[in-house]
Structures are given as C-alpha cells and as structure tokens.
Amino acid sequence: MNFYPEFEVVRNDSRCVRCRVCERQCANEVHWYDEDGKILLSDESKCVNCQRCVSLCPTRALKIVKSDCRLRENANYSDQTIKEIYRQAETGGVLLSSMGNPNPLPVYWDKILINASQVTNPPIDPLREPMETKVFLGKKPEKISRNEDGTLNTELPPQLSLTMPVMFSAMSYGSISYNAHASLARAAEKLGIYYNTGEGGLHEDFYRFGKNTIVQVASGRFGVHKDYLEAGAAIEIKMGQGAKPGIGGHLPGTKAVGDVSKTRMIPEGSDAISPAPHHDIYSIEDLRQLVFSLKEATEYRLPVIVKVAAVHNIAAIASGIARSGADIIAIDGFRGGTGAAPTRIRDNVGIPIELALAAVDKRLRDEGIRNNVSIVCGGSIRSASDVVKAIALGADACYVATAACLAMGCHLCRSCHTGKCNWGIATQRPDLVKRLNPEIGYKRLVNLMDAWRHEIKELMGGMGINSIEALRGNRLMLRGVGLTEKELEILGIGHAGE
C-alpha cells in the first residue's frame, strides 16, 4: 500500500545554486541532480527528516516540512495508528523504533518547579562564591573514625569521583560509531566524568580512557573479558533498559563488521542477540553472585553498578539491589533512548523516571539502606534543570545519552535502526562515520556539560545552596504544579503555594 510521504522536501529553486551538497550528503538518497533539466529533484518517500541537507545547504534553499496529507483519522485512529496496521498487515513483523518514547505521556520534570531564596535567607552568587558540584558515587560507610593525626581510620569502599553530577550513559560501540565513542571518551576525560561502553565491549583504542570509562556487562556478555573489566573505573551490570524493559537487545549482523565484531568477540556479520534475562540471574541472590564475581575479578577495586529499567515494582527491586552488594543503582526511565526497540514495548512499558526515582529514594531511606548505594537516574534528562530536580528528588547523579547525541549532531530523526545515520553517530558505514569528527564532537560535548554546570550552580545559588550534596533529596526545594494528590505523594513534594 502506498502512502503520501510523511515529509515534504521544499526546495526554493530561486535560491538553489546547484552545489549538490544535499545530494552528496543524503544517505537515504532523497536528492538527485537531473543533468537534462539542470535541476535538483527529490524522492520524499525516502526522507527521514534528519535535516542534514537543510543544515548544509549554503543558501538555505531547502526545508523539510511535515506533510499535511493525512489518512482520514479520528481521535481513536490516528494517521500513525492506521499506517502501522497497514505496515504490519503487509509485513507480518514487529514494528521497530529508535530513540525515546515520543508519546504525550506526562513529563513530570515540566510539572515541578524549583525554589529560590528571598529576604529571609540569602541566595548565593556562583560567580563570586565557591560552589561545589563534585559528587562521589558508591557505598558510603555508616561512620568513619580517624587516627590521632587526623588521617582516616576507615577503609572506604571504592568510589567514582565526578566533577559534576552527570555522566554519559551506555551506548554500545556497534549501536553508535567509533567516532561517537571517541567523542564521548575524550569529553568524559576532559570533564572529569564518565562515559559508559554499553554492551559492546571496549575498542582497544579507548583503553587509555579507562579511568573515565564505565564498562558494562549485559545479558549477552559481549566483549567481556578480564582486561576489559580491569580497564574501567566501574563495572555496570545491565539488567534492563528504560526504552525496552523486559527484553534484550539485537545488533543486526550488518552492523557487526570489522572492529565491532572483534570488540564484541563475535564472528563478523553475525547478529548480536542479548537475551532478555541474564540466564544466571533469577533472584537477588543470583545478582549478588555476579556482583561479587565481578568484584573478585577486579580485586574489589571498582564499584559495581546495577542498571535497571523503571518498572512498577521499582522500589522493591531497588531495595533488593541495595542489599546485593552493588555500590550504585542506575534507574532508567521509560523515556530513555535506544538504537532500536520494538515500538510497542518502547511506547507502553515502564514508568516515568521521576516517580521511580522518588519511590526508590524514599524506600531506601525508610529501610535505612540509602547509604548502601548511590542512585543514578536516566531516561530523558534534557537540561540542567532536569538534573537539579533529579538531585532534589534523591538522585546522586544523572545519566544522559540523548542530549549527548544531540550535542554530537543528532537531529532526533529517530531512524537509528536503519543504520544510515547521516550525522555519523548511529551507523557503521565508513563514509557516514567520518562525518562525525571527534575533534568537533568532543568539544561540543564539553561545551554542553560546561553550560549545564554553570546552570546547575546558578540554580543552586538561587536556592541558597552551595554544595550539590546539600541538594540531594532536598525535596523541600521542589513544588508541583497541576499534579494530583497521589502524584505529589509519590514525588514527596508539596503543591505550589503550599
């Protein structure tokens, strides 16, 4: 069945100078030059609206607009719903999507407002006063004792030290390109934070960034070996992912080429299928075994992170993880991104990170085990204010990936699963990978995080808080707007005006 294309390529021919950059830069082959008519033509049905052509057109002769030609939709059957049914009727297949859940479900960050000091307590000017954004992630001892000379007499569990409460979350080498990993690794090193390998192993070129790397162990165990574990600053056990809770992963064989297959330790061209469960983990006790196996393998030098998707029983699950010996819990909300996930799962499974985070922090505090673990939250942290709100709800730090991809050039066209990323990020095609120059990519990542750090300091200063530690779990600094009693209760915050 043919549909009118989703997007229209609008070319202002009076501005087009026939430089053909659009034609050369489109991996989807939308544009072509007609020698006879000396004109550029386009096949809009191939366009994914990544706007590479728009961005590079030197005369602004191009724009991409959403087509207004819709099927006869109604409030129940939208144009998209109908087309998805047609597509499935044609192919018999599961629908695939990329990036985070796009549906208009509530974004609680946008319904939470931050406090500021007025009259009775002074705000702090971060340009004049020292402001601490450094955080340590890991198990905190119940108490510390000191020797007579003041030195510490308590052995501290391993900690990750971050200059600001943000890290780049897991994106595997394979799902994203070598140059994207190079950009993230260099940026993490420059910023004094961490990036995460995802489940794809660590390319040998990036071992030198090990002190800023979190190495992941997921259900497929791809690329896991002793040197890999020892190369990182922390090990993350991935139990689940916010975009696709309850299922594994699938890197198509077409992406498992060259160094990707070598790094994953799988044959070239073979599909890399991560199972839904870890086949050796069916209980908290089993998880504990893996946590301690990994600690044993790395001589208890590295903190172990357990990453789970935010699902209905997240508080109880987190309570179990906090008792498993893990040092850090990472919770990934339902808006988290992905390189590919079944559409139905991405759009319908999991819960919002804000509610999950608040529930987990409260549960761990109620049970007196909050200091057993640090909490990292992810799943669409879009800005410095999201970070501040997350910290105030109880997180120790945030994971960002979509924002990091955007900094590297991603235009959220949500077509990662096609492997033809025009911005050189979610692709393994050499001609496309080279479009992301890490020299540029890493600087943009550093700029973004520098900007966020300034904003975090300004927001903290406004509240009269000069240390991120004093903001953590400080829910009095938050108020909700337009939320129900129940939502406020779970978030543990008052309504604006209260």
Partner: protein
C-alpha cells in the same frame, strides 16, 4: 605563518569549500546572486582519488614556489609569506598552472591565472573554505 592544511581523513567530499571560495571571491554579499546559474571557478578544488578518498586542494604557499619563479610577467609575488597574483600583470600564459606540482593554480573565467590568496584580498579576512567546512577537514593554522 598560518597556512591552510587539509585533513583528508575528515573530508566528506561535499564540495562546500568550492562554493564558499567562489562566493568569497565574487565580491558580492549574497551567495545566491553570486553563484546562481553560473559556472564556478573556485581556487580550492576537491579531488577524488581512485580509492574514493577526497581532499581539498588549494595553494600551499610554498616557501620556494615554482609558480613565482616561472611567471614571465612578474604577476606572482610573495608578500608576507602569501603568494599573491596581480591580475593586472598576468598575461594568461598559464605557465604557473603547468608548473605547480600541486595543481593549485587554476584558470579563472577570463582565462588568466588565479589562486588561493587565503582570502586576504576579499572581505572575509580569513579563509572562507576553512570557516565553511562542516567537518573540520580544512584548517588554517601555524605549523612548524
């Protein structure tokens, strides 16, 4: 002295440098007016080799330039390290085009020689190809 260097590793073969060059040297303020329906004569050209590797070729501003030595009209000269061409003196013999080992001197639309002058004579003030390269494949920097 700052010179233009090419990092072919990052060249995407998009040819934008050629258009930015042609526009920068057109003397006009609007790219559409400068380039629309015209054959362009850029001073930088993207070459593609048999392996599909692309790189932008423009004048290296050699310290011992053959083009200057070979110019019969005295149109080519070195000023502050930049090899410049005086279009009023050029007689269009194109010997410089023949002798340049890099293929960086080319014929302009009037049939006389033209070459990259690092955008020093136009309103850009710094190489337009460098500023417009989307992937940092052409750089303008001081090197030993």
């Amino acid at each position: 002295m700052k010179r233009i260097f090419v990092k072919e590793e990052w060249c995407l073969g998009c040819h934008l440098c050629e258009y930015n060059c042609a526009f920068a040297n057109s003397g006009l303020t609007d790219m559409v007016k400068a380039l629309k329906d015209k054959k362009i004569y850029p001073r930088v050209r993207v070459e593609t080799d048999e392996d599909g590797i692309t790189y932008a070729v423009s004048c290296r501003h050699c310290t011992n330039p053959l083009c200057v030595k070979s110019c019969i009209a005295g149109a080519l000269s070195i000023q502050d390290g930049v090899i410049q061409i005086d279009h009023n003196k050029c007689v269009g013999c194109l010997t410089c085009v023949l002798v340049c080992p890099h293929g960086a001197v080319v014929e302009d639309e009037k049939g006389i020689a033209q070459k990259c002058e690092l955008c020093m004579k136009n309103s850009c003030g710094a190489p337009a190809c460098v500023a417009g390269c989307p992937n940092g494949a052409i750089v303008y920097e001081e090197r030993e």
